[in-house]
Amino acid sequence: MTTLAVKRNDMAFCPGCSHGMVLEHLSSAFDRMGLAPTDVCIVSDIGCVGISDRYLDCHTFHGLHGRSITYAEGIKRAKPDTTVVVLIGDGGCGIGTAHLVHAARRGADINVVVCNNFNFGMTGGQHSATTPQCALTTTTPDGSTDYPFDICQTAAVSGASYVGRFTAFDADMPAHLEKAIRTRGFALIDVWELCVAYYTERNHLNRKTLTELADSMDMPLGEIRNNPKSRNMAASPTPRKNHPTPEDDKNGRISPPELLWPRRTEFCVAGSAGQRIRSAVGVVGDIAVAAGLFAAQQDDFPITVRRGHSVSNLILSDSPINYTGVDNAELLLVLTEDGVRRIQDWDQFSPEAIVFADADLELPPTSARIERVDRKAVEKSAGKASGALALLAFAIVKGKWMDPETFRNIAASGARGKYRDQNLEAIRFGIDLANTGS
């Protein structure tokens, strides 16, 4: 009993409560396995069994009600060499069912010992998730009507490696516990207990009828699942390929390109999902930043990303951008009806602003200058995926925000990523289109 700091009689549990026996069984199991107290961490839930930590000489962690499994999994993931055992009641399994299920699914390499006495002892004998039907508790004075929660089957169907149901009086409990602990992956032992203060008298439960109860409830005692080949969580991730780090800045500190607009300018591209609008705007932002300018990009799209509007705002400036709101877009590129509808303040545009709109679109009244573009033709020639970027490049050059040569140069040196060539092609297409004056 190296892990037990006190004798059973000196524990604060009611005389006859099964909790003390479970602690003795656990300590014996650790002894059988040759585990030193500091090899073990016991995570205790809330309830009478939750006060166990003070009687244990190992690492102890006593957290919130129903959440012990979460702490245990965190400890095990971060410290895989430690044997982690959860001591939880039937109450904790009720409030924390989700954790039980999902820790089992993940193959969390922890051991859950359920001290199941069919009611809430600490709070005065209320019914719990495992209370048998017809059982009397303080909150079911006419007998419980709810179907009892089968913790073992729940763990088993959720992928647990080891599941067993025994009574606290089972003399082989240390061996069962050892087996559970030695099984890799999620292990759970449902220990049926007596709560002498609230449950046993009212419901005529004793050591003998506990076994009968198991039969009558069709929840047989014994090993329910033992599948040592079950999945075991990866305590630490398997190294994969290195994550992308920012590419080396080959140009070092570069002096920003000569702008035709030496100040903050706001651009807005509005269209529909699937037009690669956000990525088109991002490409221009990337290029500008690589060239030494400052940029900010804010996107607006519905949660269901593949449907409805897609709006992307870009600010470019030759000095740091304090305020990232786009309230006065000077270039508005509108590609579809979705985009037209999403722009709320058509009457707010300044007369200096230019709206580049697809030829087919009907626009609300605005004081901005309107230029028409043939979106479909551009998409046809440049490729559908490149349409937005080609048109944005076209608009930037056409509206004289950047001269074609500068744009071409900074794009060539600043474009990055998987779609670099495709993007450069789209930009070149847009610039050429602006140059030919179509």
Partner: protein, 385 residues
């Protein structure tokens, strides 16, 4: 090197730079991409990341891992912070270093998932029962999100406390130009380890504002961790003296170290009569407004607060230079933090500028306030509308 990244990416970079090696999270807009980016960042085996069944499990796994010595982070939005609440109390009671990112959305409940706001500034401070102090930082943009994430780890480790970093949708999901290498950072702090002599008392401190030495769960010294009120041995206690000492310590280690937690940027003009105080999302507009207003010939001071809690009293008082007569506080909420400022600078005229509909406060509104206020002050008016 300049990069074009989102606030969420900046947070991940700051966390990695601080030595973060454990993250558990549950997807939620607008924080989700932090979890995605961490999966990529830890793909080389440099850390452990797990997507849990809910937010309660996310912070629960973080607390467990942190008590084995891991540097942990979890990120969510207001609804998730609500679910973290009880466990944040556990982290306080158990003195667990943990960085919690709140990418705020607009309004209560589900609110505006893709709309922005700074509505959690009081919630962050009083996020768990007992109202024991918790350091809260607020990012203003991607650059500060990077730096403050790093600082949050240092505070969490140094004081063994949960630290909340506030961001918001318009920072989290906005790409901005950053130069992370140019950010000057202090040395990374790792919590003070206990010496291995004698019996380890997990919560022993010599003075109330001291921080207990740390030994990891799973290490060679037996550790007791508990969310119940406890003595220095980590065992539940009913001894009033021990209870009083523990709870006073939880307060003192934050409040008693408040001066070292102040993070502000003061852009003060000795002759200014107007001071703009901003934090979070409103800061960008405030910077722009101060710049424009100065170009118009006005004398204006500006104080950016990055450490909202504890309230940076020293910096606040220092910003009220003798000529300051008025303070303007723009906020993306109902004017929550302005009341804290009012407490600190009694007798100074304070105007609150607010916006809560998910849009940003326009710089022009602050410029108008700065310039209006001059006129109205001349008329001797008390408060502006």
């Amino acid at each position: 090197m300049r990069e074009f990244i989102t606030g969420n990416q900046a947070i991940v970079r700051g966390a990695v730079r601080a030595g973060c090696n454990f993250v558990a999270g549950y997807p939620i807009t607008p924080a989700s991409s932090i979890l995605n980016e961490i999966v990529r960042a830890f793909a080389d085996g440099s850390g452990t990341v797990v997507q849990t069944e809910d937010e309660i499990a996310a912070i629960g796994q973080c607390i467990g891992a942190a008590m084995t010595g891991a540097k942990v982070l979890t990120a969510t939005s207001g609804p998730g912070i609500s679910l973290y609440s009880e466990n944040i109390g556990l982290a306080q009671m158990g003195e667990t270093p943990i960085v919690i990112v709140d990418c705020q959305r607009m309004g209560p409940a589900t609110g505006g998932a893709t709309a922005t706001g700074d509505g959690d500034v009081m919630f962050a401070r009083h996020v768990t029962s007992g109202s024991y102090p918790i350091p809260v930082l607020a990012a203003t943009d991607a650059m500060s999100a990077y730096r403050l994430t790093y600082e949050a780890f240092n505070i969490a480790e140094r004081l063994r406390t949960p630290v909340i970093l506030l961001s918001s949708k318009a920072i989290a999901m906005t790409r901005q130009t950053v130069d992370l290498e140019s950010v000057e950072l202090p040395a990374a702090i790792t919590r003070q380890r206990a010496t291995s002599n004698g019996t380890f008392q997990p919560y022993h401190v010599d003075h109330p504002s001291d921080v207990p030495d740390f030994a990891p769960i799973g290490g060679s010294q037996r550790v007791r961790f508990t969310g119940s009120i406890h003595g220095e041995d980590g065992v539940l206690t009913i001894d009033r003296k021990k209870i009083d000492a523990k709870l006073k310590h939880l307060n003192a280690k934050i409040v008693g170290n408040a001066a070292s937690l102040e993070l502000v940027e003061a852009d003060l003009d000795d002759s200014a009569e107007t001071l703009v105080i901003s934090y979070g999302l409103a800061d960008g507009a405030a910077r722009e407004a101060v710049k424009q207003s100065r170009e118009h010939g006005n004398l204006v001071s500006h104080l950016t607060i990055f450490s909202l809690w504890p309230v940076p009293e020293i910096a606040l008082r220092a910003a009220i230079t003798p000529s300051i007569r008025r303070v303007i506080v723009p906020e993306l909420n109902l004017g929550l933090y302005v009341e804290e400022i009012r407490k600190q600078v009694p007798g100074v005229l304070i105007e609150s500028i607010q916006r809560i509909d998910g849009g940003l406060i326009y710089p022009q509104r602050i410029v108008d306030a700065i310039e209006q206020i001059e006129i109205n002050a001349a008329r001797g008016e008390e408060q502006l509308r």
